[in-house]
């Protein structure tokens, strides 16, 4: 549909509605997420993940595994992690269709770089970023192979979708073929082949050890589950002090910092309003920002010296900005 309206979702306000929750494998559910008013969602590229803030306030990251040509839906898949911190348990046991969650990102720390050939290696739920990647590799006309490792087929999501790719997808279930011989499967570095890996930490560690001496850029790994995320995004209001204007404004949970600042009469130049263009960057003088943009890398996020107030919020009660 093309309404001719300025109908891109504004990420600072974006709540997504769970429009479908389906079983993708034993212990894995797939969620379809749409804008409540059916607007376009922010663009993304294969390898991207989004932050989901659950109604409980828990913030979790999941790779997007849908079709980017569908601008109106995101798809994620969630493994029930028995030892997890409660996010996946909530999604599996309590989250229902119709529930609203808040969105951060998308961000991409795992982009698909050009290559003549690709070897994709997915372990378990690590299949999620690989789905858009193989679609993209196909569109680019690259030669590719996917090794999909798992405990047993009934725990491995999306086997039905992958069947369409024929023998380019090699499914290796441990209960059928025993432990895989990763070193043999990966082999030696080839200048024309990039290797993408996503999965449990022990898989990543094994691959990284095998490829330790490889030329830079050939091995690309998504450190996905292992990364500890900071404090959860707060669901309560916070104060933003505007140092140059000598003002303090309260940012309600339902508004962006940008809106609150602009309501106070302080001008901030913006453009995309979805945390992708970087126009509204502001220097953080004090406080702990909750970065929800698609721009900053991990180091910059940790440093906390700047932020994008169109989408990013605060972990601390108070932020001081150079405005």
């Amino acid at each position: 549909m093309f309404t001719g309206k300025n109908n891109v979702a504004d990420a600072s306000q974006v709540k997504l509605v769970v429009t479908a929750k389906t079983k993708a494998a034993d212990g894995v559910v797939a969620l379809t997420l749409d804008h409540p008013e059916g607007r376009r969602l922010p663009d993304w590229t294969p390898g991207s993940h989004i932050d989901i803030v659950l109604p409980s306030g828990i913030n979790r990251q999941y790779s997007l595994c849908g079709d980017r040509w569908d601008a109106h839906s995101y798809r994620i898949a969630v493994l029930h992690e028995a030892q997890g911190r409660g996010g996946s348990a909530y999604i599996h046991e309590q989250l229902t269709e119709g529930t609203t969650v808040a969105l951060g990102g998308p961000r991409n720390n795992f982009p698909l770089a050009p290559s003549e050939k690709y070897l994709f290696i997915a372990g378990g739920i690590g299949i999620t970023p690989m789905l858009p990647m193989i679609q993209q590799a196909d569109l680019l006309g690259a030669e590719w192979k996917l090794l999909y490792l798992g405990r047993s087929r009934n725990t491995m999501a999306f086997l039905d979708e992958l069947a369409a790719y024929g023998d380019r997808v090699v499914v290796m279930a441990k209960d059928e073929s025993g432990p895989c011989r990763l070193q043999e499967l990966i082999g030696d570095p080839q200048a024309d082949t990039k290797v993408y890996v996503c999965g449990p930490q022990r898989l990543l560690t094994a691959v990284e050890r095998h490829c330790a001496d490889w030329p830079v850029g050939l091995l690309r790994v998504e450190h996905f589950a292992a990364k500890a995320h900071g404090a959860p995004a707060r669901a309560t209001a916070f104060e933003v002090e505007l140092a140059r204007a000598g003002l303090s404004v309260t940012v309600r949970p339902d508004q962006s910092i940008l809106d609150a600042v602009q309501n106070a009469g302080v001008s901030v130049l913006t453009s995309c309003r979805e945390g992708t263009c970087g126009t509204c960057e502001v220097t953080v003088l004090d406080g702990d920002p909750d970065h929800r943009d698609s721009i900053l890398g991990d180091a910059d996020r940790a440093a906390g010296h700047c932020m994008f107030p169109c989408v990013s919020r605060s972990c601390s009660d108070r932020l001081v900005l150079d405005l």
Partner: protein, 402 residues
Amino acid sequence: MTAPLSTIDAPLSDADPFSYDILEDPLPFQAELRAAGPVVYLRKYDVYAMGRYDEVHAALTDWQTFQSAAGVGLSNFRYEKPWRPPSLLLEADPPHHDAPRAVLTKILGPREIRGLADAWAADAEELVEDLLAKGTEFDAVTDLAAAFPLRVFPDAVGIPKDGREHLLPYGDHVFNAFGPPNELVAKGAPRVAELSASIATKCARDVLTPDGFGAQIWAAADRGDITEAQAPLIIRSLLTAGVDTTVNGLAAVLYAFATNPDQWARLREDPALSRTAFDEAVRFESPVQTFFRTTARDIEIGGTVIPEGRKILMFLGSANRDPRRWENPDAFDLSRDPSGHVGFGFGIHQCVGQHVARLEAATILNALSKRIASIEISGPTRRHHNNTLRAWESLPVRVKLG
């Protein structure tokens, strides 16, 4: 290819947006275009056109429906051979667009370019001092708007000194070539081979300084984030899209201030307005006036069905003056929030160098506002005609120091 008129249900227009009169002053035509409807059919070129903000903004955003890979000019690459290897950024769609865009977004990001600010501020102050030492009357185009980007940008990319005089004519021709093959294109044609060859030599790894944007693009190729074959074309994009556009953006803001002295006074009171001032000038003047897209499917807009594979001309300049979106759109007003203007485009193709342009503009405006109390037009102004750019040939000004 031409559709029988009976099948076209959009309002028809016989205007030629690339004619002398409309290039000289596009505003009356743009008002007619917006009034005629959300989509208008331009008979002369057998293309559709959009002039209202909502539709232009939505089309820029919807890359799935409005493709760039068939060219963003009148020429449809599905049927016609491009006159040069297509841009990996401007004339590409996902997925091919992704990797070059990601690399350039990072290199030209606001934090990455912050390191240039001090040196550029010193350059700007020197340029202004030298200019004012010669007198208080000068040409705001040649002496400032062109002089400053040519002074700082080629160094930032890291290209050799030789042949920099080819940058502006090459860019001028590229932006003409997005339009129809009219006399503006013919005028540039004799030098195309020479200029293209000169620009190509500047993209090679071994001629670039080790610390500039160019070297960073080659470093991305070394990491495998882009291919070695892509690197020189991405540098070509910087050299093509990074000079004429900023020159005309700066000329736009200088002209706007020269004709709105009260706004200059406001900037002097609050120099932090320099960023807003530049974006307001980009909205007001829209240095890049138009780009084409090609429909990826049949699409209905405001009751008109545009068939798949057709060219659509989007009038960014008209969208930026649409009274449906902007209050008092014909005023250059620093109290306005120009956020959301489409002068840099929008969506995945939005100007990747916009932060560089803003830094250049803020830097030169800061240097000027420190020394100059007022600025006024002192002689006949002259437009430079280009099929895509709204440009100035000459803006004689007189300034008062203070």
